[in-house]
């Protein structure tokens, strides 16, 4: 027990060190950009937002996953630092665009308008990941591998965009199936996590079966995490941002697919009024619970968490990175004490 606790403390310390390393390298990258000072400051605003978030939550996947996957294949995480930087820039850009669309910009943006935030998001998402990847040239990464990584970011970025589009589209449709909602989670967060894992793997090895195993691990992990976020948004706070924004997230779609007659109509009414104020959020939550939405979401999260475990096992990760990856995955659950704690 004491040994396990000591390992856990070491793992937390390592996560914090990775957070520091990635943000130091991103600070340097942004300072070296040939842009006007005000443009640079806009980028630094969201970099600070990201750093504060990562310090509070060092498990941040865009940082941990590429470094740990690289270490799980080669035994060394340091060469993957520019890749983790690229993943974190992409995450921050996508996060900023999300915040703009959902009208939830962090307080750090209070003194700036959405035009400036959009410019920063576009730069973070579109330009800076490639610049971070280009830094691999300094350590002798051959051009074909740089191209593989650049293409990977483009392909997965496109899938993430498709997921965002579905996120906007589903609330406008009369009938949305559970599969539509699952697919949206796969495209949005599945693609994002698949990118984080695959980028670390693609830098580390040429072996397609290893790269595919980590891609599948990331995809399943990301889907589980998206569904957890959907549930947390509804049940984890006094009011739900997704209900306010009229989103058709997984627990909501399940309830609409399961309830019949008057209960279904009542939920539709509640979802409509929940966009106007938080007054009816409790009643909407109660109806979602009555439909079994939370239980069902927990089941699907568990199935994807178990799939991710299987894919990770098939990649035979080296230690101690493998243990840390299992440990990250262990937290992707809505339920306590139901799955084994590691390999």
């Amino acid at each position: 027990m004491a040994n396990r606790s000591r390992k856990a403390n070491i793992d937390v310390e390592r996560k914090r060190e990775r957070v520091d390393s990635v943000f130091v390298s991103l600070d340097e990258l942004i300072l070296a950009l040939p842009v006007r000072q005000n443009h640079r400051q806009l980028l630094q605003i969201h970099l600070r937002v990201g750093k504060e978030r990562a310090e509070a939550w060092p498990e941040m996947s865009s940082i941990q996953m590429p470094l740990l996957v690289h270490a799980a294949i080669t035994g060394d995480e340091r060469p993957a630092l520019p890749v983790a930087g690229a993943c974190t820039l992409l995450y921050l850009g996508a996060d900023l665009f999300d915040s703009i669309l959902d009208r939830e910009l962090p307080p750090a943006w209070d003194a700036h308008g959405t035009s400036e935030a959009s410019l920063a998001a576009m730069t973070l998402l579109g330009a800076l990941p490639q610049i971070s990847i280009a830094r691999l040239q300094e350590t002798g990464t051959p051009p074909p591998k740089l191209w593989t990584l650049a293409r990977l970011f483009a392909d997965e970025g496109l899938r993430m965009g498709a997921g965002q589009y579905e996120d906007l589209l589903l609330p406008t449709l009369e009938d949305v199936s559970i599969e539509d909602s699952r697919a949206m989670a796969e495209h949005k967060s599945g693609a994002e996590y698949a990118l984080f894992a695959t980028a670390g793997a693609a830098l580390a090895t040429e072996d397609p079966s290893t790269i595919e195993a980590y891609a599948a691990f990331g995809s399943c992990f990301g889907i589980a995490q998206q569904l957890i976020n959907d549930a947390k948004d509804i049940w984890g706070d006094a009011f739900s941002t997704d209900l306010l924004n009229g989103k058709r997230t997984f627990p909501i779609v399940y309830a609409l697919s399961t309830l019949r007659g008057e209960r279904r109509e009542r939920l539709r009414e509640l979802l409509a009024v929940a966009r106007e104020s938080t007054e009816h959020h409790d009643e909407a939550r109660a109806l979602l619970e009555e439909a079994g939405s939370l239980r069902y979401t927990a089941l699907i999260v568990w199935l994807y968490q178990q799939q991710a475990r299987g894919h990770l096992a098939s990649a035979s990760p080296q230690e101690p990175a493998g243990r840390e990856l299992y440990s990250l995955l262990e937290q992707a659950s809505l339920v306590r004490h139901t799955s084994p704690s590691g390999p």
Binding site: I178, E179, R182, A231, K232, W235, G236, D237, A238, T258, R285, G292, L294, R295, Y296, A298, L299, I300, W302, L303, Y304, Q306, Q307, R309, G310, H311, A313, S314, S316, S333, L334, V335, R336, H337, T338, S339, P340, P343
Partner: protein
């Protein structure tokens, strides 16, 4: 890795597809997971079945006892 602890990937994929697409399967899983899996042609070994049973029963029976870690606590 002790493979006996893991549910096989192909079984997990099939379970996920059914859980998303088949309402009757979903209902059956909460009431009688073992019977439902057998009816749908799954041949899980004892450890795999034990894992499925543990998860389903934990969720089904503990719903009202603040089962969901750090999630419903703030709301309830």
């Amino acid at each position: 890795m002790d493979n006996g602890e893991e549910i096989r990937l192909e079984a997990l994929r099939a379970l996920t597809i059914l859980a998303v697409h088949d309402e009757e399967f979903r209902r059956g899983m909460w009431g009688d997971p073992e019977g439902t899996l057998t009816r749908y042609g799954f041949a899980l070994n004892d450890q795999e079945m034990e894992q499925v049973r543990n998860f389903v029963f934990t969720v089904r029976d503990s719903l009202d006892e603040e089962l969901f870690s750090g999630l419903t606590a703030a709301y309830r």
